[in-house]
Amino acid sequence: MDKLLTKIEDALMLIGMLGALTVGTAQVVMRYVFNTGFVWSEIALVTLTILAALVGGSRAAAEGIHIRITVLTERLPAPVQRYANTLAMTIALAYSLFMAYAAFLYVQFLHMTGMVSVEAHIPTWIIFSIAPLTMALFSIRYIQRIPHAWRGDEVAKVEFID
């Protein structure tokens, strides 16, 4: 399960970043060298980058690189630190779930209004689906982390050595 998820994330990050890079570079070359271009290049670039970034955010949740302020919890005794960590991860999970739900409601609304992207001629609900789907990914990542936090093997990041 974890392996499959990682593979999916890897694929989406690579497609998103390298796809956006290709589209953006091609747009500049087309405009400058061939004096032509695509109207949809900007929306494609933005959509692919946001996809890559939000999937990257999910990976960041798995790897624990989202910035936290640990000044207070670090000073707690080890067993209490465990509870604080578990609480923090649970809150992050609750938030991801709520955002997945809120974004899903918005996608549903867009689907209902039939709004179409003016530049790309595709329904905007498809583009916006990135939001609930990546929030679902975030949620899975936090679900995976909670047992670790509970067991206490979730420690503050290793200090950088001078």
Binding site: N35, V39, Y106, T113, M115, V116, V118, T124
Partner: protein, 310 residues
Amino acid sequence: QTKATALNDIQQNTVKGQTWDLFKKLVEERLPDEVTIEVSHGEALYDQKTMVQALQLGALQFISPVVGVYSGTFPKLSVLVLPYLMPSPEAIKEVMEDPELGGALFDDMRAKGIEPLGVWLNGPRDIGRTGSKPVLVPEDVKGLKIRVPPGRNYVDTFKLLGANVTTMSWGEVPTALRQGVIDAVEPVPHAWAASHMYETAKQITRTEYIWDFYIVATNKAWWDGLDPKVRDTLKAAMAEATKWNWENTAEENREARATMTAGGATIHELTPEQRKAWVTAVKPLWDTLGTELVGKDVMAKLIEITDKYR
């Protein structure tokens, strides 16, 4: 006490911003205990891509974007901003008041939770470019790197004329123009002046190829739920504000042109022959895009009405 938020998506010191301020003043004078109106100027709350949805979802009560902003949800509206179709504000007025034309389009909006309240004026779109050679005839556009707003009416027009069209975000445009990434832009006079782009693209032509306007709208469920007396007062205040808006737009654009000339830009007028050449060059779009959007009959009716003002 009802609290309503109106979004003026551009600067406060524009005619549109002042129209909203006037509307607020009129409403709060007449309904001091019933309604307060917050006018949010600029894009701090919602931008062009999100305001229509925010209105539909009830997060906003009033918006006034340009026609193009609605066209993602109501593609047919693009027909109103086909190049050289609407020759003047009076033509816009008659089209919008016609039950089969404006009326039918407004019914589409109502069906999706939006209650249109009226039309405010923006201005005629004028093409301006960097360098020393002005754009006077359609051939001058060939190969020109021009930025237009997203929307088929804009994009297809310049593609038809052989330009290199881009729809880059408006925020990038002044820099891109100054650096030479693009050669030309085509906003309305007050936007030309406000963005200072006439300092870079000094050859501006009164092509007036699209007469741009705003559609003022409210959330239908909220509007229908108001006390009828309150609603009538709001309607009357809107009518007065709209009248003021129509009286002052021409002056705003005239002043903007004066600012640009004083700032070193050259504004070229089209001769009747040149204007005719433009209309002839873009007219095929009325058939292709216009018919595709609204069908042959509606298109014919539109041309019939607007011809009176040509």
